[in-house]
Symmetry: D2
């Protein structure tokens, strides 16, 4: 977004379902995204923050789910999401070795906004997800600091950049430059309109495998340029799924699994070294931290129609991944490692 | 029930929460239980059927969950319960090798009641759970037939027998006679009354380990009578939890896990050879097979109060297990194998 | 096989890894497959049996895993596979409503071969998987009988038919005729050759979505023939993965998950009404039922190389699905319902 | 240990299996434990580090498992343990809000010991578990710093203190003072001796529920002293299980589940607000980070005998919990909150 040329601007349309206005996770009302980018000749990393809604998320939690496709990853917060089916903090994405400072900073952010945590009520469950940007970034330097996390959290927008920004700054996808991508789908049922938004942090895959809407793009790129092999493929993908559809945690988990369809359609075999994790939440029901009633009413989705959502999730994931690549810039990082943008090849691929 | 002398009639009261009127799973309105007992000198087996509500369960499904404590068992139906969070048939309990005929018969029962299954709508997910009664029963004979399943399904009551009846006819628990037991608890929250009912089929455990309300009863029994060791401890316990509390499948699963507390308190180490499976359902929300709305309202439990339910489930499980034993009769089965009733020792134990 | 024209015979090669000699699950030494087909104007169903090895599988179990992609299915045996990580019976595939008779018959088959079951040792865990063939088959008739299961078990081969045979007789895939398909891949690591074999029973998908090696074949077929919509998409896919690679249950589960990649590449969104279940086993280590040693040596795979297996599983699944379709014959079943063979369209699709 | 008076010194013997020499997790050869205690009038917290073996754990990983009994907790590292079945770092226990600094410090510790992490090989999976010590500790102060984590990691012993030390400094158990406890069991099979060691961090439970070897101790304490109710029961228990028995990850998970038996026997209902997490590992097989062979030999346990391990785990857990309490000192923390030692009541209880 923000004037960037995205997949559809190249004439490629994934799937059959229409997109939201921004074709972004932020088409789900209330969701906002903030980036903090750290970039010099050796440091290529950053932070991306996703705010699930505009109110106090600790006091008004959202129903949520996590799903692990491949667990070679260090995501934090999933144990409690699985048990309670809620999220109660923003979601932070960053590099693997900076997850500790992300947790620490997110705790401080939550304490600042909620005097009662650790005093008159219990603690809080920070959600932090990560990929390993070590090819382009001096990850051992652990350059992400508390102020960077706070800046990402405090500067959030509905219209945000994709590609090599925020947590995506140093990420590598299919041997090209990866990073942050997003997409959305609108599902209509009985005249009601619902939105599914997806944001991905892409850092996985072998160049030769890349598929773009059925085109074996990776093999074409191999022909154009004999590629640098990524000997260390310790990649990952983080997928954040937001929706305004009322759903239980079980239902969210079901639709979260269909991210795998989108992922496979871009060429992934869900590699061993990949931490492939989905965090999903619905903005439709709020779960009050101080609920007093014995029982509460919630709305849930009529599961007879869930196939429509499966398709929407698959499509949005596929498109968000490709957006993360087509929006990314060719990047030279530590030890003069370079990863090229998909932009440089897309003309040839589409010929 | 039905005039049987139960645990409380011996002055033993498990826990602190009050019971329902019958202290039975059938205290949950709509739940009914039927037994068919097969008993001669070699055949000691049978069928127990649990009807979750009085209407058409296929058309009006209930929210449900399954939980496996130890999976050395052959329960059927759990894959779909886990995915969809509903049950759509009665629950059949029988011996392990008769599970096939139970599934087959339950399919026929469902076809008889629902013309559209396999025609204008899809198929159906039978729920069948089992224990291995081979110590007392000639299980290789596969004596349970279709008509036995049908009779159990068609003769259901709120006031039913416990002990060595139905699926419990040949079961062995803690080296004594086991079988069917039940108990219930009433939980009050903000002046609302909720019921949790538990029915167990007990067939597990080592005599020496039996604990009755903290008393190491098994060791006392060992002193009274040098026991026949159960060399083949291929036991199991099936636990069916019914409640009128509105809950999601995730919430049901959480409370289902606390059956393990009750189980452990009676002396179990959740043995290797044991299929320890919980099926739980809530009668509070109906899930219509032909729902047309995009979204539906359901009531769910305010999880801030769930500790009260955990305790109730633990207590009801513990008491139901002990009821299954104290209500069972000394039984001589195949090859003159005998398992004695706990009744014969309870006087000594309580001294 | 057996002289059938398969996908590769049309010039379509899935992936980059070479196949085994038969390009079949039976390339894994010891694995055999048997079919029993029931076919008249209304009855279109049958049984497929997979024998994991040629010896006594109860006495010498194999390490195994199950994986549920979508659990709208009634597979039996997965609870115990998950707990113990072994299989101890052949695997039976049949239609949904005949799963009970399949379980019952498989019990009898096991009792016949093992006198000790239910006497001096415990019971046995039958593995039965199913799809719903109600579009072409009068499934309510429950036409599969004990003798059919036995015949499938007793007539097993390494060279077996694919398409509309055995359990695949009445199955429907992507709105065309589905059924049984198989494929295999050979993985070489440090001069050692390993085999991965896949057998699928296909009964899922929307015609428009079919993809063949990147080609949007389904849309082309829609153009050729305005399709009969499958209003009742209560489909499923069963995937049986055999390998001679030494693996733990956890490792088998990891590679089993990559079936989803192959599935997605053929166009599936892993539909709501689909029971998508994988049963996998390795023939490399035998687990003795009567093991006496305190500990045993097993071989396991060096997981650093597991990416090669992921790719092989993805490819074999994709090809097996397409083989199930291209080998199937156009079939007219109950109520004159017809599903056409992919063969009738493949010429146009490849133009 | 270290001269502390433990449960057995009061004449209470849990179970029937004999203990290791130290009755400690450190009876498993190679396992060492370090504490760093922070204690003043407001600060009551600390760090406990468990080293799984004496070599380089990143280069020679151990087979491991995690098990969540109740997931109201923030443990880190479990996603990867579940996927790969190994641990590759020491285990850090601390308070909930300090988990971020623990992760961060553990990363630095691992980087210091392994130059290749984040350069020529991938990253690392820190294992951090936590309980909430806010009743006695000013947890919002986030007083644990990097040097504290490092000191715990660098000062490890086989003979270590229990009770109100390290991560246990501010913990509360059954309304009394909790903290660190340990115990072990020796299992003999075919003349081979195996050790199971358990270390717990206890911070859960309602006073009235405490059971000591069948004695309803909590109710007796209530009689002695009308207790301060713990209105905020946001407790937890972390259980670390070490063994020298060769086991797969699946087997470790199975025995880990039996911690629930020990827990229930002390009176727990596995409360809602409790993060009850088990991390288990076996020292018997090393998994080389740089393994080159296609397959490797490992030893695994003959599961036919696993019941003996289940019992041992149950007993060791029960005893470790009680040791954590009986070794703890009465502690006055923030806001003059006091939690008394079980020592003060044990005489009355045993009368």
């Amino acid at each position: 977004m923000k004037g960037q040329k995205r997949l559809r601007d190249y004439g490629i349309k994934i799937g059959e379902i229409k997109t939201g206005k921004l074709n972004s996770i932020t088409d789900v009302t209330g969701v906002k995204v903030g980036h903090l980018t750290l970039s010099d000749s050796k440091i290529k990393t950053g932070v991306t923050a996703i705010l699930p809604h505009e109110g106090n998320i600790f006091q008004n939690k959202l129903i949520a789910a996590s799903h692990v496709i491949n667990g070679f990853g260090k995501s934090m917060g999933t144990v409690q999401i699985n048990e309670l089916g809620t999220i109660e903090t923003p979601i932070i994405l960053t590099n693997t070795l900076s997850s500790g400072v992300a947790y620490d900073s997110l705790v401080k952010y939550m304490l600042n906004h909620n005097d009662e945590i650790g005093r008159t009520t219990g603690t809080v469950n920070p959600v932090v997800c990560e990929c390993n940007d070590q090819i382009l970034n001096n990850i051992r330097g652990m350059h992400v600091k508390e102020q960077h996390i706070m800046m990402a959290l405090e500067n959030v927008y509905t219209n945000f950049e994709e590609g090599s920004v925020g947590a995506g700054t140093g990420m590598v996808c299919y041997g090209l430059k990866g990073g942050i991508g997003t997409a959305s789908r609108i599902v209509e049922i009985n005249d009601e309109r619902f939105t599914i938004g997806m944001l991905v942090l892409t850092n996985f895959g072998r160049r030769k495998d890349l598929i773009i809407d059925g085109i074996k793009a990776g093999r074409k790129i191999e022909d154009i340029q004999k590629a640098m092999d990524d000997k260390i493929d310790k990649g990952s993908i983080i997928m954040v799924l937001a929706t305004d559809i009322p759903m239980t945690s079980r239902q969210l988990k079901r639709i979260s699994k269909r991210t795998g369809v989108g992922l496979a359609r871009t060429g992934s075999y869900m590699g061993h070294g990949s931490g492939e994790v989905v965090i999903s939440f619905s903005t439709a029901n709020k779960v009050s931290h101080y609920e007093k009633e014995a029982t509460v009413q919630i709305k849930v989705f009529n599961e007879n129609n869930i196939d429509k959502l499966f398709r929407a999730v698959g499509e949005a994931t596929e498109e968000a991944i490709l957006n993360s690549m087509i929006c990314a810039e060719t990047t030279k990082g530590r030890d003069a490692n370079v990863r090229y943008s998909l932009k440089e090849y897309i003309g040839e691929i589409l010929k």
